[in-house]
Each structure stands twice: as C-alpha cells, then as structure tokens.
Amino acid sequence: MVDGPVPNQLFEQWRKQFEEGAQAWTRLLSQAPPTTATPDPTAFWRPVLDQGVQTWAKLFAQTPATPELLTQWKQFLDQWIEAWSKVLGQTMGTEQFAKAMGQSLDQFLVTSAPAKKIVDQQIEQALQALNLPSRSQVTAVAKQIVELEDRIERLEDSITAVLRHLANKEPP
C-alpha cells in the first residue's frame, strides 16, 4: 500500500514548483517591453512538466494497483488545476493584462459601433417600409407603460394617505 505522506510531499513539491514558476512568469510578463512577443508558456513549463511526469511514472510503477491510485490521481489533478488557476490569476492580475484587455475591448467597440449603427438604421427602414413597429418604438411603449404604472402607484399611495387622514379625523 502507498504511504500517505509520500504523495502529499509530492503535491507540495509540485505546488511549490508551480508557484515559483508562476511568479517567474508573471515577472517576465510584467517586465517585458510592449514590443516583445509573449513568452511561450509551453516552453517555459516543459522542464517542470517533464520532471513531474517522470516522478509520477516512477510512483505508478512502484505502487501496488489499488483504487487509492485513482484518488491520488484526482488529488493530483485538483492540485494541477489549482496551480494553473493561480498562474492565470497572477497573470490576469497584472496592469499589462488589464490594459491589453481594455484596449482590445475598445478596439472592438470602435469598429463595431458604425456597423451596428448602419444595421440598426437598415432594420428600422425595412420595418417602416413593411408598416411594422420598430424595436425602439416597442421599447418606447414599454417605457410608457412602466411610467403609467408608476403614476398609478403614486396615486394609490396618495389616496391611501388621504383615506387614513380622514379616518383619523372622524369621531369614533
């Protein structure tokens, strides 16, 4: 049977490697000038992954085949996902990433805005030609209904207040 602490030590070692690697990667990303190409994460992680796979292959070869192996494999997967989650979290938490994301979103908005405007206009014209209400007209009606509901409610409140006032005034 497999001793409990061995895989735990292995996980710890793995986690440490990932965390150190993640920090190095984040440092690399944040220090790189904007013109430099993003480092290849596969190349960066390959030695770490190779080492891990070898260790696991050894462990599997030496371990008797009990279903506990599956549990250990699941634990390993969880740790691996968690480690990647940390790596990605650290990268996405950099100012560079936020800036790049903001810029690409801006780019998308700038390019899509005129196209959207043209499409909207054309749809509006087509609906008008077919004598059908456009989305903006339907939306305007919906807004009016909401406003009417609001007014009715205010009236109800006022009437309730007046009735309460009158009830309080009436002699018992």
């Binding site: 990647w84 936020a98 903001g102």
Partner: protein, 372 residues
C-alpha cells in the same frame, strides 16, 4: 503485499490465482468498478434524457410587482416577529439559487428558523429597461419593497439582508432612508470598499475600461458578455467543475445538486445600460459609497448613518468580493453593535452547497434570531 504493478495483478487474476490477492483489495476494486459503472449509467442518463432540476420549491406568494421586479413572501411559523427583506444582486444571475433544492435552500432554512422571508427578484431586464439606474433602485424600488414588507407582515420594523451587489445597494438605501425602520442589516459577500475588490476592480478601473463608450455602443451589457466576464475571472472553473463531476458522477445525490447548480451557473442575466454605467463609475471607479460621496435622490449616502446592528459575512476565497472589501462596512457604519465573520469557501459557498448549510446559514439566522 509487495511492490506489484497493475499488470501483474491482472495477470494473476487471469491465470486463476485470484486467491493470492488480499480480499480487501478485491473488494476495493469491486466497489471502484461499481462506481465506474454508475458513472457511465448517469452520464448516459444526463446526455440522453436530461432531467430538469426542480428548483425553487419553497411555497411563496407574490406580494408586489413593479415593472420586472417582484417581491415574494415565504411565510414561516413566525417565531421571530421582524420580517427579513432579502436583496440579491441585480442582473448577473437568477435568484432561485437562494431556494435551490429542498434541504439545500437558504430560503427554506430561514423560514424553518421562524423568519418571514421576503425575496426581492429584480427580474430579467430587456432593452426597455436600459434607463434604469442604481439610483432608481435605491430611491424608488427599495423603499416601496420595504413598505410592502411592513404592510403585508403587519410589523413596524424589518431586517434587511444584502447579498453580493445587493449589499452595497441596500446599504445605500438603509443609509439614505432613516425614515424606514430597519432593525438589523446583514451584508453577505457584498463589496463596500471598491479599492479592495480584486480583479474586477483592476479590469474596470478608469485607465483600463471606458464605461461610457461601452454603454453608448452596446446599450446594455448582454448576458453573454456578463458570462464571459465571470468565466474570465476564474478560467479553470469549468475544468475543475467537470473533473469533480466525473469523480462524483456515481453519486445520485451529488448529481441532483450539480444539475441544479449548473443550471443556475449557466443562466446569466443582462445588465441595464444606465445601471451598469452608474455601477461601474460611482462604485468601482470612484468608490463613492465608501468615501461618502454618493448622492441618491438628492440625499448624500453616508454609511455612518447606518446605526442599527450590523452583521457582515465574508468568504475567505471569494474572488468576486474579497473579504477585505466586504469587511470595510464594519469600519464605515455608525452602529455600536457590529460583527464580522469570515467563513471558508468562495462567493457562492455562502448561499449554496453543503458548506453554506453548515457554516453560514446557521450563523446568519443565529445572529438575527435574538435581534428579531
């Protein structure tokens, strides 16, 4: 047992020497095969004949509606006199997460503890709601909801519980409406100090996000975009969810909970455009609520004006509202009686799942009970 490989075990099994294998190990393998079989069976069932999860089963009555928003009352044996108004997030997701499944429902827990529970369902917004603002929620919708709670429960005081985005919105309401008799205020995983709000704070900062261009172009925040934002926050979430699903697929009880939670987790709700503009600008970018600079309906919202007992619950691994930004309410309010607790788990762990039922809900109901 020596150092054997799986291939050796198979060899001995096939050669008729199974008697050499310890009985315990054979039993373990049998169990594992059985689990494997059940996994395949459930996977087949899930893909071929997917069952619709029966969420939101606690009986309720609609007591008020305003445009898309609804106020639902979940009646209880009413051991406690003061009713509870629950204010969840607007947009993002549907509120049936709070009443997910029998035995795993926050609403059910609170009603069993004797609280009359009022759930505010903000609704699913369309293009006609794009003019809705945070201010309208605070000065128009919430006061009316509170009024209906008092009228239908026949009490003269109520407790308010804000979850996630519902917490800063309801805190703004409580702070700016001293005439509303709020007896207790609870903040569950609601960001207050937006300088400590984590990744969303960075991504939505003035330098990185042009909210005006965004709203002016798109009109609203479509549900797919809300989904993309939340998925990006934890990109490995889907992977770990699927790994855990496969691991627990043999367990029917787990599967039932998973299907309900998964349905909720993939049903995103759009944000009205003007609401999003004000939310990002005033809360995320200018941190006006915490700084006391927020003005709603002509009234300045100052958190120190909240003087009722306050209970704040943060989650240790919450990456949507990290504990530091939630805890900030404790230092900002003017209450004498205030308490902060930090529980294990993430944002959703406070309101759904086994952890919530054991760690979180009893603490919330336990804190409220003597004060209600």
């Amino acid at each position: 047992m020596g150092q054997e490989r799986f291939a050796d075990v198979v060899e001995r099994f096939t050669s008729g020497f199974a008697a050499d294998v310890p009985a315990e190990m054979i039993k373990q393998w049998q169990e594992e095969f059985e689990r494997g079989f059940r996994r395949l069976k459930n996977l087949h069932e899930m893909t071929v004949n997917p069952a619709e999860p029966k969420t939101g089963q606690t009986p309720r009555v609609e007591v008020y509606k305003r445009n898309k928003s609804r106020l639902y009352r979940y009646e209880s044996a009413r051991t406690h006199r003061t009713p509870l108004l629950f204010v969840p997030n607007l947009g993002i997701s549907r509120p049936y997460i709070f009443d997910l499944l029998p035995g795993g429902s926050f609403v059910e827990h609170m009603t069993r503890q004797g609280f009359d529970f009022y759930l505010l369902d903000w609704g699913v917004f369309g293009p006609e709601d794009n003019d809705l603002t945070v201010e309208e929620c605070v000065v128009k919708i919430l006061p009316r909801m509170a009024k209906r709670v008092l009228a239908t429960s026949g009490t003269d005081e109520l407790s308010v519980l804000g979850y996630c985005m519902g917490a800063p919105i309801s805190a703004s309401f409580v702070a700016s409406h001293p005439e509303v008799p709020v007896k207790n205020f609870v903040n569950m995983a609601g960001p207050i100090d937006f300088t400590k709000v984590g990744l969303f704070g960075l991504w939505l900062s003035k330098q990185n996000f042009n909210v005006d261009r965004f709203v002016d172009t798109l009109g609203a925040v479509p549900a797919d975009m809300v989904k993309a934002g939340f998925k990006l926050l934890k990109p490995t979430m889907d992977l770990s969810t699927n790994v855990n699903l496969w691991w627990n697929l043999w367990n029917d009880k787990y599967l039932e909970g998973f299907q309900a939670l998964n349905k909720w987790a993939n049903e995103y709700v759009a944000f009205p455009g003007e609401f999003f503009r004000q939310w990002v600008r005033d809360f995320y970018q200018d941190n006006k609520l915490y700084r006391g600079e927020l003005v709603m309906g002509g009234r300045t919202v100052r958190l120190e004006h909240i003087t009722c007992p306050v209970f704040v619950v943060g989650a240790k691994e919450d990456y949507i509202a990290p504990p530091a930004c939630v805890r900030a309410l404790i230092d900002a309010v003017g209450s004498r009686e205030k308490e902060y607790i930090e529980l294990p788990g993430g944002h959703i762990s406070l309101i759904a799942g086994r952890g919530a039922a054991t760690h979180c809900w009893p603490k919330v109901s336990g804190w409220l009970a003597p004060r209600s």
